[in-house]
Symmetry: D2
Subunit: 331 residues, 4 copies
């Protein structure tokens, strides 16, 4: 299989390195990125490079594209790739506008190519284990899901301004996780937000802390708490409570030492951010993408999954603005 990679910023590099190191039967035919830094990086790896994303779509050898360019380029690029008959892995979101996302998905659907969204956390070994145990009925009907999702520190204000806000940028992963673990659709959202970390985030029109209640179609519930700043590091946990038991997933740690001193027992902090915590999930998701293409199977994360998570994020934004529960039907 031959692939093209659009964008080799932080996340694009992860995918590129993973593919080079772990997928010997995947050929990286072309990497495109408008930046000089990217050009140097790619040349050092002896790969073909272009400053123009569109060269990937125009390359007839390319079977599939990995889209890691900025969000505002996603929609156009995905539509072009689909028209060119190339399978697509795209980092979330497809676009910040719901209408535009629907257009893209319609287009992709008609083109017949496969599209996978980059909700990488689904492929984290801990969450995979929880998912598998819930699916196998270990806890009976899942009733209450609780997700903790906190970043070690806020992004730059410049990023905050174009991010789409905490729900669209950060919590959207948790909304997807909620649908994934519960295997049900969300019917209603109530969110409460606050600016507790940095006033500048509030000045930029966003929040930095949130508690969100999701109600599923059958009346079961989820709670998600988000913060842009956990001083002890990246905090990514969940627990799901069901009629027959409960499942928990903890953070991952760089080591498992324990130190017993005169002041107490001490251990290491969790792995600090997503590159460290989700190393395996990035690898697993790429593997899943290539396998789905090879086996002509359904993508494990579809464009509709992205759409649904986005609807929840939009409902959460309205909920905060109007201080009321918002039905997904309104979106």
């Amino acid at each position: 299989m031959e692939i093209g990679i659009a964008g080799v910023g932080r996340i694009g590099k992860i995918h590129l390195e993973n593919i080079l190191q772990r997928f010997p039967d995947i050929d990286v035919t072309l990497v495109a990125d408008p930046s000089e830094e990217a050009a140097a990086y790619v040349h050092e790896k002896n790969l073909n490079f272009s400053y123009n994303y569109e060269d990937i779509v125009g390359n007839k050898e390319v079977d599939a594209v990995i889209v890691c360019s900025p969000t505002n380029t996603h929609a156009d690029f995905v539509i072009d790739a689909a028209k060119a008959g190339k399978h697509i892995f795209c980092e979330k979101p497809l676009d910040l506008s719901l209408g535009r996302v629907k257009e893209v998905l319609d287009m992709v659907h008609h083109s017949g190519v496969k599209l996978m969204l980059g909700f990488n956390r689904r492929f984290d070994p801990n969450f995979l284990k929880i998912k598998s145990m819930v699916s196998s009925g270990k806890i009976g009907d899942p009733q209450i899901l609780k997700i903790t999702s906190r970043d070690p520190g806020p992004p730059p204000i410049s990023y905050v301004k174009v991010s789409g806000g905490l729900f669209m940028d950060m919590a959207i992963h948790d909304f997807d996780m909620a649908r994934y673990i519960m295997n049900k659709e969300v019917a209603e959202v109530y969110a409460k937000g606050a600016v507790l970390v940095d006033k500048a985030i509030g000045d930029a029109g966003d929040i930095d802390s949130a508690l969100t209640t999701l109600v599923f179609e059958d009346g079961t519930m989820a709670n998600i708490d988000n913060s842009r700043k956990a001083v002890y590091g990246y905090d990514q946990r969940l627990e799901v409570f069901g009629a027959e038991g409960m499942l928990k997933a903890d953070n991952n740690f760089p080591d498992n030492h324990q130190y017993y001193g005169t002041e107490g027992i001490h251990g290491s902090l969790p792995l600090n951010f997503f590159l460290e915590r989700y190393t395996t999930s990035y690898l697993n998701e790429m593997d899943a993408f290539f396998k789905a293409i090879k086996n002509n199977a359904e993508m494990p994360v579809s464009g509709d999954d992205g759409l649904e998570a986005m609807k929840i994020a939009l409902a959460a934004k309205i909920s905060i603005r109007e201080n009321r529960p918002v039905s997904l039907n309104e979106i």
Copy 2:
């Protein structure tokens, strides 16, 4: 100090045994309870007994009363005890009617006696530790509190019907805990409930599962999840997240063994219900009550604490009924 105990059902017996065993300088002058079973139990201990609660109030030797009689007797008894100048420890709630509670508190206030409400969980060693660390500033400003509070199994339907409902009967402890840990007043409540455990609970007009969001005056938040049935036992945990760190309290366990077998690593379930889990807290709260009387100090849990928790419970009930956030000002 001489005390009288009104009611020696499940909780009254705990207090009586604790006092007899651990408080040698407290004399149990009279125990009252209308039941024959109680009479036999008290006679066996060679204590004075009456079938009539009012005999406690009428006994001039009695300095303080422990009120463990049914909820519907609390208000009258507390008022009579206050008029008789006796200090009062009363199991929650003072009454199921907010107006009546206010009357009782007014009366108690004017009488000058001390009143302590039985929010025993405040005295659990784990929660005490968390409280003390939050107070000492270990986590900076507390921003998000999460409480898990699940019973091992639902009470009988007959009890459900007179209990005041899940919020007034069960979650009220968690509402008090939220105020205690955060040391702030709740401004707004949003609750979502469901009948997921037993339809009969729904038929009785109650819910058996709930997710409640509390917003404090300063915009910080708490989430509480309740279930009437956790098959793995009594689940009583909390975590509080702040600007400078996070604190967690786990359940207590009957032992700490770990078994490594071919199927995994196994440990014991949490202590099964409140009598086992909160053994120490019951002892500590009685100690706190007697100490406050001896030292003429403020009670660690006041009548107003009961009132505030009750308001939150009432707001939660309205929130579910009307599916909207409810301001505490409305109550």
Copy 3:
């Protein structure tokens, strides 16, 4: 049942308080202790008191005696009590001389009274759980036992000098635990000791640190490590490895909080010393003693158990002195 208590120092007080608080059907007929401090303590409890241990043996009402007097009084007192037909609970050891212990046990045996030795750790909930799981075959044949047993700090040198040494005074509990968990007899002992904590302990002819290897009759093995000083508190753990699995028992803790700060994750130290760690085991062992008398059943810890642990301690002392493995047959 009427009992007498000989000696109300630290451990005698524990037993007395436990009996007064938790065993309402046991009457404490007489307490004896030569000290003025003890006299005052006992009078305050309105119990009969004598300065002379022998008054207990001479009291016809007394059915059973609890021996908590200094070690050098144990043998004579136990013999007198046995002659007087009284059942005996005796703190370990019966005597520091093996020959004398054998005499006492012979005498007790012929008298027909029941004798229980105070190896209280057998009644700790964690070790009870391990014992029960080993007995039920959860790990198949136990092959390797590892015991960690460390004190928070060394006793005064004056005590060290009369204690019988680290093996006879401290490790003897672990030797008993090894026989209890493995349910086999020890055939050979190899011990290595060192003075790593305090030179004064070495000057007193003792060691403060030791590693002991026990070989059981069937070739299975145990390792015990002892230290007189763990700066982080009392460390009492074990693990037993078998053909079908492994079991571990950890320390107990005053609370289970976890604090996540910028420097790591922190928890409380273990309960600091035996009075706190073994609170429940002291209660359980007294219960077992009274029950065995009432039911005319075998004592759960016999005089022979004390003898066997003592032999292992003596073998360990020889092993260190002669730097060689010592067969129990030599003792």
Copy 4:
């Protein structure tokens, strides 16, 4: 840097894959292995291949060799490589004969090339953390080290027969770890062994279970327990106790889920064997090897380290045979 790899069995493949994937500046110039399977494997990777190990030594481009061929080829190959001026990474042991090892080390010493032994566990993140904390004085003087080292299942009897026995083949890693963590030399060894897992191992002249006591030059101590069969998987833990604290390292796990069911709390078993548990350590050790060459620095695991661990293993064998402590001076 150009390297040659001698032997691509299980461990050789790990090193080869790690180098190809993670060390882009290291060129694999030649791989040699007498087997057809290896030939096919290497050709698939488009690398140069020879059936003859000696071709690596003869290749002038090769700067360094990775020796993963069978133990009985190590000594000759290392000597030849040293004579040819190539740096050497060699899996342990250099040879099963102490005299031969000394010859090889002498030869290597005179040649001036660098030699690193494959004690990969030194590079495990958990043990690295412990080592670093011990070195920085976190626990003061280390006094007692305890190592648990158990395999999930025994190797084939054919392997047992040529392995050099449990101490030389398996425990030698633990002996190295003991020297590494304690940073002291061993003065005396006492070992006790047994055949508890499989009689056939005993018939082959070996043991499958052992408890070993190490005494260091300064009187501090270590205990190591080994078993060839832990039904719950690969068990690799240690704890080191010192004057100022204690450090523990636990196993690694495939995930960190916890399941609360009606029977207890359950978690996953440890990673099953060395390829999974020590994935990172294999990578780290190769990195350390290349770095030491590039920086012309001392190798982090020297030939003498291999020699010392081997002496301890030989002393342990004598100790079991003669049932006595054996001084390292005897070896």
